[in-house]
């Protein structure tokens, strides 16, 4: 974990617009860290895991924060929107409940008042709770630099442990959620040792779109936290269930495929084998819960 010292020295830059952030990164991106909430970065700096020459503070960039509905029925979440603001949004709680469920389990109120949605992604930690929830919602992020912007699905944001595909001159500005289909619903379940204020041992997000007429899984997305070097989608397990009716055997089959696709590590927190046991149980439970959310007529045929 490393010994906590005072913060290392740095020069602090305080841009007021995204354009100013991009300009600062264009010039100094290789020697700079972006500071949003700071609940991860400041600790990493205290442990001397990173000692950037420049710290670019994002708290003063008003346009990076806030939640706006999109014309296509989706939602645009500014990257420095705090977990608290996310949870205070009625549209997030009603239409994107799986995201609210994931955010509500992060830290306590003091941390959620400063920790940001973008920071939870850009930190690229395998134990982050929002990436799996966002993956199952089909979210994309916008990466902006002074030479333009590009859109990247959250699925493709994490190429390897501890990093994102963002270049040093890019800033994550927006998280975009597509509109949610009818008869859909999600659940994020995580296991951790303590009741609260703990890191995720494993987390499972499931999002089900239910075919109410044929009574089968029209679509399903599953993604995991702390189950591989990066937050990860479970495409093979999803394929197992797509088009299938709801039955315990189908869930069991999907859970076993999740255990084949996942690649958890043994750490002081839990062994690889224990994480597989957790995944098998939580996957089934998350799918059941997501399917209950998706279909109002739950229980009639299952």
């Amino acid at each position: 974990m490393g010994y906590l010292r005072r913060l290392p020295r740095f020069e602090y830059l305080a841009p007021h617009s995204t354009a100013e952030v991009c300009a600062a990164l264009a010039e100094r991106g290789n020697e700079a860290e972006l500071l949003a909430g700071g609940t991860d970065l400041l600790l990493q700096m205290r442990r001397r895991e990173t000692s950037p020459r420049y710290v670019v503070g994002l708290k003063g960039v008003a346009e990076l924060s806030g939640i706006r509905p999109r014309p296509d029925g989706g939602l645009a979440i500014g990257s420095t929107t705090t977990m608290h603001s996310l949870l205070s949004s009625p549209v997030v709680r009603e239409k994107y409940a799986v995201l609210a469920e994931a955010a509500s389990g992060i830290g306590g109120p003091e941390l959620r008042n400063v920790a940001t949605v973008g920071g939870n992604l850009a930190g690229a930690l395998p134990c982050a709770d929002l990436p799996p929830a966002l993956m199952t919602l089909g979210a994309t992020v916008t990466l902006q630099s002074s030479s333009g912007e590009r859109t990247v699905p959250v699925d493709e944001l994490f190429p390897q442990f501890g990093s994102t595909v963002a270049r040093p001159d890019e800033v994550l500005t927006t998280i975009t959620l597509p509109s949610v289909p009818f008869f859909s619903g999600g659940a994020y379940l995580k296991f951790h040792d303590r009741q609260s204020m703990d890191m995720t041992t494993v987390g499972v997000s499931a999002f089900v779109t239910w075919d109410e007429a044929s009574r089968v899984f029209r679509d399903i997305k599953i993604a995991l936290a702390s189950s591989a070097p990066v937050p990860i989608r479970m495409r093979k397990a999803e394929a197992v269930l797509r088009g299938r009716s709801y039955a315990e055997e189908a869930l069991e089959e999907a859970a076993l495929v999740v255990c084949e696709e996942a690649d958890p590590r043994t750490s002081w927190r839990a062994t690889r084998e224990f994480r597989f046991d957790l995944l098998r149980g939580l996957t089934k439970r998350a799918i059941r819960r997501a399917r209950e959310q998706a279909s109002p007529t739950i229980g009639e045929s299952s």
Binding site: L4, R6, L7, P8, R9, F10, E11, Y12, A14, L35, G38, T39, L42, L43, R46, R53, V55, G57, K59, G60, H84, G107, G108, P109, E110, L111, N113, V114, Q195, S196, M197
Partner: protein, 162 residues
């Protein structure tokens, strides 16, 4: 690298102008530059809650907040909670219900309670416990703290009604 920069902070309604390096946390500035030692330094990683202060009414961990980023915001510390020497109702309730023993965690709990009751004047016991997850107390076992917060909520509702 600029060593010292001017930082203007509004704390408990008073404006303080100091020179400090940008790598100073709000907690370090409160304690070491301004002598406001109510907020305590303990875990330094956002687990224990002893460094809690209010920024624009919201409880935050001042050990994870740069002083330079607290400019332009309304900062409240435990020193600003009592008015003219008269304890705030939350402080009175903590004293009366035995929610305070050694006192090290108390400023954090009192400010977290203030933040909670601002947003939710009638919290359930579960909501109180959920709001206090970021605070550790090694003396009380938390039961008296929960009772103190419940008492504060009741007394403040009565005050508001009168």
């Amino acid at each position: 690298m600029k060593q010292l920069i001017p930082i203007t902070l509004r704390i408990n309604g008073v404006v303080h102008e100091i020179l400090a390096p940008p790598w100073r946390t709000l907690l370090e500035v409160l304690r070491e530059h301004l002598g406001l030692t109510g907020a305590k330094r303990s875990c330094q990683e956002g687990q224990c809650g002893t460094c809690t202060v209010l920024v624009d009414g919201n409880a935050i961990n001042s050990c994870l907040y740069l002083a330079v980023e607290a400019q332009g915001k309304e900062i409240q510390t435990i020193e600003g909670i009592a008015q003219d020497g008269v304890l705030d109702q939350i402080q009175k309730s903590f004293v009366q219900k035995g929610g305070i023993q050694c006192g090290f965690c108390t400023p954090g709990f009192v400010l977290a309670t203030k933040s909670l009751l601002n947003a939710n004047p009638h919290p359930s016991e579960d909501e109180i416990r959920e709001a206090m997850v970021g605070h550790l107390c090694r003396c009380t076992g938390y039961v008296q703290i929960v009772e103190a917060i419940q008492d504060a909520a009741i007394q403040m509702t009565r005050e508001g009604a009168n």
